[in-house]
């Protein structure tokens, strides 16, 4: 193999000694590198979005939600909670009353919105979700100062406090201390039975829920569990139990265990333990579809880059036909010739892949590194090496010695690195107006190392395959014809 390496490495280099490597090699290496870098970056963004959404959902959602099939209320929930707690993987359990309600402000005389009402015990809920972390204001749903003062100045009954989703509050135009009316039930009018009168409950807004997850911030209100039970007249009963596990991925298995462990009577109905995956199935299957499409596109990107290698090699073989003839007269076998071109192509593939990996990872790092950077205008430092390179080309001012070439390469590297550092910053989804769509403020980046290794192997393999035909073509040149080739 030594002989083949010797020839191949020389062919990779430039004939004119301006740089270490010939322009054509640089273009093919660049093609592979850009392809690999794109693949790594795009996957990191997709994985980041998925992971970001997952993290956010899991901060807001229970891993498993237990309820009855008809979502009706059930009693004895403390007993059932302790039954669930016997499962090893269960970290925390929280009883919840989940319902929907129409809301309007006291000033308004029309229903403003229909929202989800989650009746929780803040302490227990905090063990299952990151509830209080997201609340701007008070999590005291029974005795905050807003409730006290509201009770003092109003003669109406105040049932308790409510934490409203931040965006919902903005939509309704309420501030802390405002009173919100919830329609709990429609009761028949005592005299005219065809008329329904709403059963109302008043809640004081004590805080805003800012989870950055639009579903919650837009649609949810949180009230105290006891208040909810009282409001619906379901004392000591709940309709949902939220469960957190040691690992969210265990949800499907533990959900089945919970259904087996928790006993409901025939009258109560069938338990239904749903996992967070089931609850968010449409979203995550959409993400998966997106990922499959992206992987196909990524494979095509690398394939295109490998075509570049094949055409470079075919050109090299054409250019070196005479050399091949000479080498055959010197006693190089077909195998020698085949290997030498395969080595040349493989080196391009390998350098391109490695360079692309480095570039991709650097871009990933820059896109996720939050620090003050010099303005992207500083990317103009790139004119320095461009200027010098032009000078070298035009005026031949700098002697073409290895030391100078090395210094020049180093200068390029530093200038490009600095330009990238200035120009590539985390992308703010809020600035793009996309934070509601993607429910995140910053484009998330998550590098999956397993995938990086996989893409490296795949890319190298594709590049290697791309060398086969040109190398075979070179090996099968007839020595005499090759020698006479002009």
């Amino acid at each position: 193999m030594r002989f083949e390496w010797f020839i191949a490495s020389r062919y990779l280099r430039s004939r004119r000694k301006q740089s270490f490597i010939s322009i054509i090699s640089i273009i093919s290496i660049g093609g592979v590198a850009l392809g690999v870098a794109t693949v790594i970056l795009v996957s990191a963004i997709l994985d980041g979005v998925e992971q970001g959404l997952k993290d956010r959902f899991l901060a807001n959602e229970a891993h498993v939600v237990l309820r009855l099939h008809d979502t009706s209320f059930f009693g004895d929930y403390q007993k059932r909670i302790s039954q669930i707690e016997t499962i090893d993987e269960v970290v925390a359990v929280s009883p919840v009353v989940l319902s929907q309600s129409a809301v309007f402000q006291e000033r308004s005389n029309a229903i403003q919105d229909v929202i989800y009402i989650k009746g929780i015990d803040p302490v227990q809920e905090d063990r299952v979700t990151d509830f209080s972390k997201f609340v701007d204001g008070s999590t005291e749903l029974q005795n905050s100062r807003y409730i006290e003062s509201a009770r003092l100045i109003r003669d109406e009954t105040i049932t308790g406090g409510i934490v409203l989703g931040g965006r919902l509050a903005a939509r309704l135009g309420v501030i802390k201390g405002d009173v919100l009316r919830l329609i709990v039930n429609l009761a028949k009018h005592p005299v005219n039975e065809s008329m329904l009168i709403p059963d109302l409950a008043n809640f004081v807004v004590v805080g805003f829920y800012e989870s950055e997850l639009a579903v919650y911030d837009n649609n949810f209100g949180f009230i105290d569990l006891a208040a909810a039970q009282k409001m619906y007249n379901k004392k000591n009963r709940v309709n949902t139990i939220f469960v957190r596990l040691t690992d969210a991925e265990l949800a499907p298995r533990i959900a089945r265990q919970i259904e087996d462990k928790v006993q409901f009577s025939v009258l109560e109905g069938m338990p239904d333990a749903r996992t967070w995956m089931e609850m968010q199935a449409p979203l995550f299957s959409a993400l998966r579809l997106e990922k499959i499409a992206t992987v196909i596109i990524e494979a095509l990107i690398i394939l295109v880059a490998s075509f570049n290698i094949a055409s470079t090699l075919i050109m090299t073989v054409m250019e070196k036909t005479k050399d091949v003839g000479t080498l055959r007269t010197l006693g190089a076998s077909r195998g020698n010739v085949m290997r030498l071109f395969m080595i040349q192509g493989s080196v391009i593939g390998m350098l391109g892949t490695l360079l692309g990996t480095v570039l991709g990872l650097v871009l990933c790092w820059l896109l996720s590194y939050n620090a003050d950077r010099p303005s992207y205008w500083y990317a103009v430092v790139l004119v320095v090496p461009i200027f010098l390179q032009v000078l070298i080309a035009l005026r031949r001012l700098i002697p073409r010695r290895k030391g100078w070439m090395f210094a020049m390469s180093l200068l390029w590297l530093v200038a490009i690195g600095f330009a990238l550092y200035c120009a590539v910053t985390p992308i703010s989804l809020a600035d793009l107006g996309l934070s509601q769509v993607y429910q995140m403020n910053q484009l998330p980046i998550q590098v999956n190392w397993f995938f990086v290794v996989f893409i490296n192997i795949l890319s190298f393999l594709i590049c290697w395959i791309a060398t086969l035909y040109p190398a075979w073509q070179a090996a099968n040149l007839k020595p005499v014809e090759a020698l006479q080739h002009e």
């Binding site: 030594r2 005479k322 055959r328 007269t329 010197l330 076998s333 020595p479």
Partner: protein, 227 residues
């Protein structure tokens, strides 16, 4: 010519035809020839008569249509492609009209190439190559690229390259065909000197009458046969 001659190559009833679709173009039509150890054989003949084809078949670069080429009584064309390449590497040196040096490699590297194919000891190969370049009078030109050498110098590098594996036979196809008079003379002197010193066999295809008179034996090809 020596009196007790030993046969190095025996060519038996060699035919070579080229095919262009259906039509057959016979080039060599029954060549019988013996080439002796250490001789300087000249092959002359009109243009297109098949001199180069014969040389290529002798050099195992091309296969005959029918007939045999026996080196030391072994039919080389029964060898596999890889074995043939190895045989060519060890036993045969080539010098062409056009030097055919690889442009990306220095004079020294060009000379060493033939030995690098199989050798694992690069150091001794380069030492050998250096000695050969010294012998052909180019010890000052080791690290020059072919484009930096004159025509005569390139041909001398090509001769040094042909000798790197100490082949039994050197095949030269119009070695001076592309050189001016002075360079030609220098190259020829070199070949004569080599033949005298190393005892290698030289087969030289040429148009040059002057050259043809200086060799040990001349054969003439006419109509694809030895005349």
């Amino acid at each position: 010519m020596n009196s007790n001659v030993e046969t190095l190559i025996r060519i038996v009833n060699l035919h070579k035809s080229y095919y262009d679709g259906e039509s057959e173009l016979p080039v060599l039509q029954g060549i019988n020839l013996e080439i002796y150890m250490s001789e300087l054989l000249g092959i002359v003949g009109a243009s297109g008569v098949g001199k180069s084809t014969l040389l290529h078949i002798l050099g195992t670069l091309d296969r005959p249509t029918t007939g045999n080429v026996l080196y030391d009584e072994q039919d080389v064309f029964t060898l596999s492609d890889t074995e043939l390449a190895r045989f060519r590497n060890k036993e045969i040196g080539f010098v062409f009209q056009f030097h055919h040096l690889l442009p990306e490699f220095t004079a020294l590297e060009n000379v060493a190439l033939g030995a690098l194919i199989t050798s694992s000891n690069n150091k001794s190969v380069y030492k050998e190559a250096e000695a050969l370049l010294d012998y052909v009078g180019l010890s000052e030109r080791l690290s020059h690229y072919p484009s930096q050498l004159s025509g005569g110098e390139r041909q001398r590098v090509a001769i040094a390259r042909a000798l790197i594996n100490q082949p039994k036979i050197v095949l030269a196809d119009e070695p001076t065909g592309n050189l001016d008079r002075r360079s030609s003379e220098a190259v020829l002197e070199l070949l004569w000197d080599l033949n005298a010193k190393s005892g290698q066999t030289f087969v030289i295809v040429t148009h040059n009458q002057e050259l043809a008179q200086k060799v040990d034996r001349v054969i003439q090809l006419v109509d694809g046969k030895v005349f």
